[in-house]
């Protein structure tokens, strides 16, 4: 009896969430495949979007900018956090605190500051974006890596590697990164997703990436913009869901 009742509460919650999330999504999808005045359904808005030259251009641009952000994040944070966990320096508390600071600053205010302060040499190159994205994802990336490194006996491993003659670079690439790959992967996914979807800072600094291009498209073809939006919501969700369902569950997961 109570078993049925406890399952019932879960079903009610799942159904409410399902209606809440899927109803507008389904409605928007239905709208995006309407055939206009002729009636019926077709994928013509999706085909239009994919065939747009700019679609590929901006998708690729967002992709490499996000990849670069990931590279910067890993190159800065992996050595930094390894060093922190091995030597436990007195500045640790400060660095932990600093890493959380971007959470306090609204992105709009940060954009005004960046626009105001960064020299023109920096502002004139799109390469400023990966560094700014690095700042925006820092609170999450730092924490994800920190938790991963805390879970392993890092000091012992590093001492073992170093006394076996490995230098620091070798210690990081062949010992630390492989053993913390779950945390590193989580950091990569998080940083990548955040940079890929970043809109506010990008548009306020007058750069064009995939998300800002969509708002531009909307001005000439709203249905096309809706189709692209549906793709950017549904495709990552399906990918993420597939990846997480295929990953075997760890022992401490119920």
């Amino acid at each position: 009896m109570s078993k049925v009742r406890s399952q019932l509460s879960l079903i009610v919650v799942l159904m409410s969430l399902g209606i809440f999330f899927l109803l507008p999504m389904g409605a928007a999808f239905e709208y995006s495949i309407r055939n206009g005045l002729e009636g019926g359904y077709s994928f013509k808005n999706y085909l239009w979007a994919i065939r747009e030259e700019d679609f590929v251009y901006y998708a690729l641009r967002s992709f490499w900018l996000s990849s670069l952000t990931v590279v910067i994040t890993l190159m800065v944070l992996v050595p930094l956090l390894t060093w922190i966990h091995v030597t436990k320096p007195r500045v640790q508390g400060w660095i932990d605190g600093l890493s959380l600071l971007p959470l306090v600053i609204p992105v709009v205010a940060f954009a005004v500051g960046a626009q105001l302060a960064l020299p023109d040499v920096v502002k004139n190159t799109v390469l400023e974006l990966p560094f700014l994205y690095f700042i925006l994802s820092l609170p999450y990336a730092y924490r994800a890596l920190d938790i991963g490194l805390r879970a392993i006996p890092l000091k012992t491993l590093v001492e073992a590697a170093r006394s076996s003659g490995a230098n620091w670079r070798r210690t990081i690439t062949t010992v630390i990164v492989p053993i913390t790959r779950t945390a590193v992967l989580a950091t990569v996914a998080l940083t990548f997703a955040l940079s890929l979807g970043e809109y506010t800072l990008t548009v306020l600094l007058h750069w064009d990436t995939f998300p800002t291009w969509v708002t531009f498209v909307a001005q000439e073809n709203l249905l096309g913009a809706i189709a692209i939006s549906m793709m950017t919501l549904i495709i990552p969700f399906l990918l993420l869901a597939a990846i997480s369902l295929l990953t075997p569950s760890s022992k401490n997961e119920r």
């Binding site: 879960l10 709208y31 050595p79 992105v107 690095f134 230098n167 670079r169 997703a193 709203l222 939006s229």
Partner: protein, 303 residues
């Protein structure tokens, strides 16, 4: 490079390096810190410091607080009020159902269910912004499925000139990243509720409601409050969604700052936008700093 590092390794093991050509070991130990400090300082601390400094400058570059005087008068005070109201309401409306959903998903959901929901939450909370705005333009537009369906059952959304570019329209859309965000940040608190506590309570004769009143809710409350504060900060400073929904003509502080930055809106004071930004930082800090402090406390209890 590797040679230098080997050297410092030897120094650690008790044989001090005497070769003068290598970098001083004390300096060497701080090398991992250097890139972080440089990037963080140049791309974050410096812009924010400049923002605060310039917000106190007049058009003639003399010290003034007149930017702040303007920031707190019409129409900018209305922008702050709307932003705070939107932050509070969207946080409240996302936090309560989000907490309940997180509870049932964590306690009763299978691993698979939780993972699918987590994937959905991640996409909506992190990349939601602009796509969400267009999703609702389609779903609640004048010919959208939901509008037509509601009309069919007798509710005419557009009878009272409903528009997504109004306070309540924006509020609805915000819930679609606030509720997922709540599930993400509140779920860890649910997992930290130990089964043993409930068993201990019931062994001592506590009823279900007594357990919740004296054990469950007091333990969850700090995390709930912290999550609420984070949701407030996220709703208060959100820009993307509302910019896409309203084409920037809605009295909210982030949009007003955006307008000033773009030069779409002209102000007699050049540095008004900076003052608005600083006030936003202060309001946001009032929520995020307590959030961080509570989180740290909670982590100490539960680890």
């Amino acid at each position: 490079m590797s040679l230098v590092v080997q050297e410092s390794g030897k120094a650690n093991s008790g044989a001090p390096s005497t070769r003068g050509a290598t970098i001083h070991p004390a300096l060497l130990t701080f090398i991992p810190l250097l890139p972080f400090i440089l990037i963080f300082g140049f791309f974050f601390i410096y812009p924010i410091a400049a923002l605060v400094y310039v917000s106190f400058l007049s058009n003639e570059n003399t010290f003034t607080i007149s930017n702040y005087v303007t920031a707190f008068s019409k129409p900018y005070n209305q922008g702050f009020w709307n932003s705070v109201k939107l932050g509070l309401l969207s946080a409240l409306m996302g936090a309560i159902p989000g907490a309940i959903a997180a509870y049932f998903l964590e306690i009763k959901g299978s691993v698979k269910i939780r993972r699918v929901i987590a994937a959905l939450n991640g996409v909506l909370a992190n990349t939601g912004g602009v796509p969400l705005a267009f999703m609702f333009t389609a779903a609640l537009g004048i010919q959208g499925f939901i509008t037509v369906a509601l009309k069919y059952v007798g509710i005419d959304l557009y009878a009272n000139q409903f528009s997504l570019a109004t306070f309540s329209g924006v509020l609805i859309v915000y819930l679609y990243f606030q509720l997922p965000l709540m599930i993400i940040v509140f779920s860890p608190a649910i997992t930290s509720l130990r089964k043993e506590w409930r068993e201990a309570a019931s062994n001592l004769g506590a009823s279900r409601s007594k357990y919740w009143r004296h054990v469950g809710l007091p333990i969850l409350f700090p995390s709930f409050l912290a999550s609420f504060l984070l949701l407030f900060a996220s709703g208060f400073s959100a820009y993307a969604t509302v910019n896409a929904l309203t084409v920037g003509n809605f009295p909210l502080t982030p949009l007003q700052i955006g307008g000033l930055l773009d030069g779409n809106v002209s102000a007699t004071q050049l540095h008004l936008g900076k003052a608005l930004g600083v006030v936003m930082i202060v309001i946001s800090a009032l929520a995020v700093v307590p959030y961080l402090l509570i989180q740290r406390r909670v982590a100490r209890w539960t680890s």
